[in-house]
Structure formats: structure tokens, C-alpha cells
Symmetry: none
Subunit: 212 residues, 4 copies
Amino acid sequence: MDLKEKREKFIRDAKSNIILDAARKVFAEKGFHQTRLEEIATEAGFSKASLYNYYSDKFEIFMSLANREFDLLLEKLRVLFKPQEHLLENFENLFRVVLSFFGEHFAFVVTTMNFRAMCENMQVEIEKDHILLLNEFKNKFNKINKMQLMIIENARLKNEIKIDLDDETVSVYITSLIRGIIFEWKIRGGMGDIEKEINNLLLFLKSALVCL
Amino acid sequence: MDLKEKREKFIRDAKSNIILDAARKVFAEKGFHQTRLEEIATEAGFSKASLYNYYSDKFEIFMSLANREFDLLLEKLRVLFKPQEHLLENFENLFRVVLSFFGEHFAFVVTTMNFRAMCENMQVEIEKDHILLLNEFKNKFNKINKMQLMIIENARLKNEIKIDLDDETVSVYITSLIRGIIFEWKIRGGMGDIEKEINNLLLFLKSALVCL
Amino acid sequence: MDLKEKREKFIRDAKSNIILDAARKVFAEKGFHQTRLEEIATEAGFSKASLYNYYSDKFEIFMSLANREFDLLLEKLRVLFKPQEHLLENFENLFRVVLSFFGEHFAFVVTTMNFRAMCENMQVEIEKDHILLLNEFKNKFNKINKMQLMIIENARLKNEIKIDLDDETVSVYITSLIRGIIFEWKIRGGMGDIEKEINNLLLFLKSALVCL
Amino acid sequence: MDLKEKREKFIRDAKSNIILDAARKVFAEKGFHQTRLEEIATEAGFSKASLYNYYSDKFEIFMSLANREFDLLLEKLRVLFKPQEHLLENFENLFRVVLSFFGEHFAFVVTTMNFRAMCENMQVEIEKDHILLLNEFKNKFNKINKMQLMIIENARLKNEIKIDLDDETVSVYITSLIRGIIFEWKIRGGMGDIEKEINNLLLFLKSALVCL
DNA sequence: CATGAATGAGGGTTCATTCAT
DNA sequence: CATGAATGAACCCTCATTCAT
């Protein structure tokens, strides 16, 4: 029985993920409110009603997706930071991971980011079950910032950063630059050349942060 | 009679603007699709049906608002550029205008920006009457970029910019930084200290662009 | 004052009729429910609100129009019947009047006829003020039948009719034939050749009623 | 599984037809534009939204109904024509079928006929998906005329028709007479005596067409 | 009287969610 | 678990009618 249960759980998880894969695609194209469950279901090869066997509602699908995606991203980022490396080296790796991630799997991020802003005004309306998911997501979102902060602080200690701006601000700026690139991609309807974007970003950052 | 007509037009315009003011508030909070006409109407002190005396549909309300806001912004930006001034001087003025504008009048900008991305995938579905409004808006949106480009190119000619990045990219980065600040404000639920933001931005840009 | 009152009444009547002229055009094209007051007003050169200075509501416009038109028709029919003439002569005149009338002024009749059928199921819902108008119309509608019956009975007395069908039925059939022609015109989008229609009708009737 | 699918399709078709039955009742009473989906739904024992599981919109309900009804009618008419029989025999059968059909199942026909006229002015506004349904209906509508024409032409060949009117016109007249009877029924609120109507019609036609 | 503006009362349609099988 | 079907709750938009000027 234990084996059977495991197998069943395995299958269930697999199907859950198929749904999230479908959801990512649709949410990325249309955003949260424009996305219809019907579309996700079709994309996933399920019927609309079946989605409810895996997630309790649209919001949970969205948040589960967001959490899953950020987990993946965080995992990649976690192994990437190398204290002994130079700031720009670390950011080059971070940019590569983040841009390829957002580009390939996550045009959805723009939606998410707007959604995140939206959520701040929504807490009252959200049911209790959802607050947990929401907070989980916020924590992950913040971890990315912390990852950047870690890189920055580490570089500051090693005197690699000359600019007289507090680390928080620098981190926000870097986040903004990344988001701006994703945004441009979204408008153009497709990813650009990642390596070129990385080079440009590094050039800009090097000038801004390092060479003073 | 001419006087009477003028007065009537004046009143009509005033009411149109009251509606747009209400629309701005609601769109800023909820975004386009989540916004209900009922809310705009109530906020404006009208009945829902009355909105249709001034605008032909929801889309037109949104685009009229976007165009009105961008007109105001463009007007402020137009008089601000001074070729003889230094790059940072020009950007300081631009930041002040844009940030105060977006802060006070235009939390709505995030919505707009997403909407703009959305529109790229929509052109087929939009009715002919609306395409005009949409293009009008796009033109205005692009003008802001051109304004920035003008500042940058002017500075480049005067050798104020050292960084080896093409002007377009620099302009996108600056836009991203501004948008990032607005975005943070939105999440925090209110504007931050504009002068401090400007100082930080200028510090960052000075380092990035000027001192190499 | 009396003169002034008369002049005012004259003007008022003229304007009322302008509205009805406009109403006839629109009702003829769209039918009762599809017609919007706005269209009638525009067609008449008034604002929508002004219509209410002349008629209390849409229904009254429609019924007033129907009554006015039928009055005109009845007037023309009244002077047309000549007892000493042969059945076919009388019907030739009737056809000419009715067809030209319906064609020129009254494609609206199809609408009316459907409306009449509709009214039978409506009496409960109609307000008291309107029942008078409705009955007035019904009376006029019936008068046309009586006019036809008169012709038929007269012909029967003079032994011009051979067919063994009661006069009522014959009258209904003739009405149906006329209505059928109007109906075809409506579908084709315009009147046909009246004289040819009359000839065909007379040929048919002659054969049906007279020559047995 | 094939069995299950068949059963499901059977049920689905049955429900579709229940909706059309309800629609027929309401459309017959109120006409197309005056009919509210809510009423059809209630009459059919569904919620308004459920109708959309079977038909994509109001127009499709109407046209599906019209097509279904005309299919039934055409089927009955198809087997009825017997070339060797006399004109009056054939028309007697046709009248019986048509009158009983329109009486029992099809008070709705008057609405349809007006709708048909309406459609001629509408083609531009109708969406592409609907044009197919509309044309399907028109074809069926025309087939009835052709059925009558077939009877007439057959009789003409056998010299059973004396009257010097082209067959088209005769067909239109017969259609008009039938429609006139339905129309009277509609006004009276119920069917009359079919056999008596048929006798009268045959008597009239015999006199008009045959005995010259 | 004329009219621009306001609005209540819907009407068709959509969609997340529930239910029965 | 899967799903076709059912539905309540909105939402956008329309229009006859009213009102203030």
C-alpha cells in the first residue's frame, strides 16, 4: 500500500505540474484576470472541472505557479553566489540565470510583479487559506532581493563598490534594470539576445558601481 | 449664443474630466479589466449610464485618460530640456517632473504600461474607432523616450557621456529605473521622498554615464 | 388671442406630423421594437426629448402614426366604392389605392400587421390611456375589411360572384393576397410594378370569383 | 464507451430540443427582439447561463429553431407530392401538412417571416458564423416555394391549370393565402378548423386555377 | 417649447465554481 | 479522479423616459 500511495502521489504531483505548466503559458500571455480557467485546462489537456481536483481555485493555481517558479529560480540562484568572485562576475551569473529564466519560463513575471503590487491592496478580500500562499510568495520574492543584497554587501566588504549609495537602493536599481529588459521583451513579443543584454548591463553596472 | 455654447462646452469638459479623475483613481487601484464602470461612475458622482454621455465605452475612457495624462506630462517635459545645460541637470529636471507627476497624478502609470504591453497582442480585436486612440497614445508614449534620447544625444555631442553604450540602451535603462521607483511606491502604497530619489538616481547616473 | 391660439395649434399639428413622417420611415425599416426614439428624432430634426412634447411615449407615436395613416387610406377608399360598378372595377380601384398607398407611404404596414397580432396578447400590459388608441386603430383596421365586404356583398347581390364561399372568407383571401404582395416588396427591398400586380390580381380574382 | 457516448449525445440532443421547444413558444409570442433569454431558460427549466452550453448566442437559438422547424416541415412535404395526382389533390395534402404544422408547431412562423424580411437588411451586421445558419434557413425557405412550384408546373404540363398567370405568381398567391390564414389564427389566438380552411382554399383555387 | 444630460431597468454574455455521474 | 453540464453573480452596454435649464 505504501508503494501504491507513493505512486499515486507521484502521479498526482506530475499532473499538478502539467497544470502549472499550462497556467504559466496562459498567465504569461494574458495576465491574471484575463486568463480563463478554460484555457489553462485545454492547454493542460484536462477539463476545466478537473483543475479543481488539484487546486481549490484560480488564485491558488496562480500562487502555486508563482511559488513553484520562484523556487526553481531561487534554487538556481542559491548555488550561483561565490563570495570569492568579483561583483561583476557574480552579477553576470545572476543576470544569465534570471534573464534566461524569465525569458524562457517566465514572461509571466511581469504579470506576477503587477500582481504582487495588486495584492497589497487586496489583503482584506483574500481568504485565509490564500494568505499563507501569498506570504510564501512574498518571502520568495524578497529572497531574490536578499540574494542581490548579499552579492552587493560582499562586494562592498571587498571594496569592489565605490558608489556612495546604500546597498538597498543599488539592489532596487538592479532589479529595475532587469525588469525593464523583460518588459521590453514582452512588448516586442519575444526575447532578445541574452548575452548582449548581459554585456550591456555589466558595462553599465561596472561604470556605475565600480569605476569611480 | 456663442457665450452660452462656450459655457456649455466648458461644463461638459469639466464633467468629462471629473469622470477621468474618477477613472484614474479606480484604474490605478484595480487595473483595466478589474475596474468596473459602476465604480468609476460612483466615484465621479454619476450613474453608470451617464458615463456613456461622455465616452462611448470603457476602452475610450481608459485611452482618453491615458492620453490626457500623457499630454500633461509631455507639456511639462517639453519646456524642460535645455541644450546648453549639462546632462545631469537636464535629467534632474526630468526626474523631478516625471516622478512628481507619476506620484501625484499617475499611479495609474503601471496599469498603463501593462496595458501598453497588452495592446501589442490586441490590435486585431480592437475596433477601428479605438485604433486611433491607441495610436495616439503610443505616439505620446514614444515621445517620452524621444525626449530622453534628445537629452542623451545632446550630452553625447558635448562629450558629457563617457560610457560605451548606444543611446537607445541608455534611455531604456533610465526608463527602467524610473519605472522601478514608481513600482516600489506602488507596492509601499505611497510616494517616497522625491528629492532623495532624484539624488540617488543622479548619483547613480553620474557614476554610470559620466565619470569613466 | 383666438387667432394666435389657432396659429399655435396649426404649428403644433405640423410639427406632430413631421414627427410621424419620420416615425413612419424608421418604423417601416426596423419595426416597432427595433426602432429607437433617437432615430425618429434625428430624422425629424428634433432632439429625442422634444418628442415627448408631442407624444407621451413610443407607443403613442406608433399608434398615432398608424391611425393617421389608416385615416388617409380610409378616406381614399371611402370615395372609391361605386355600387353600380362591377366587382372587378371596384377592386381594381381598391388595389390601386391600397398598393400605391402601402408602397409609397406605408411599407410600415407589415410592421403594423405584426403589431396588431402582438397587441392581442398585450392588452393586460397596456395602460388605459393606450387602450383607446389601440381600439381606435382596430376599428379602422376593421373598416377596411368592411369596405371590402361591402364591395363583395354588393357584387353578390348583382350576381357578379359565382363562387360558393362566404363573403367573409373571400374578403380575408383578398386581404391576404394584398398583404402577400407587400410582403414580397419588403423582402425585395422596393415596390414592384403596381399595374402589373393589379392586372395579375384581377385576373386571378376574375377567374376565382366570377367565371365559374 | 461507444454506447456511453451515444447516450450522452442522445441526452444532449434531447436537451437542445427542449430549449428549442421553449424558444419556439416564447419567440412565437414575443418575436425575436422582445424575447428574453431568461424566459426561454425558465420555460425550458434551465438557467439563463445554461443555454450557452447548447447554443452560442440568442441568434443561434433562433436560427437553429427555424432550421429545425423547417426541416420537419420539408420532410413532411417531400413525401407528399405525387406527380400522377391532380393539382387539387396535391395542394389538399400540402395545405393539410402546412396548416397543421404551422398551427401546432409553428405560430412562430409569423415571427420567422418577419425575421426573414429583416435579415435582408442585416447581412452586413451579422457575424460570419451566423451567415451560414442564415443561408441554410433561406435555402429551406425557398425549398417550400419550389415544392409549390413543382406541383404547379406538373399540373400545368397535365393541362390542369387554365389560368393565364405565370407559375411564380400563382405560387406567391398560394403562399399568401396560407400565410393569411395563419395570420388570422394568430390574431384570434388559436387555430381554426383545418378541414374547413382546406375546403375553402381548394374551392377558391379550383375556381381560380382550374375552371376557366 | 427645446434640449443636453441623467438614469433606472434591464438584456446578452462571460466565467469561476459546483454538482452529478 | 474526470468531466459535461449547470449556475449565480457580475459586467458592459442600451434605451425609453425624466428633469433642469
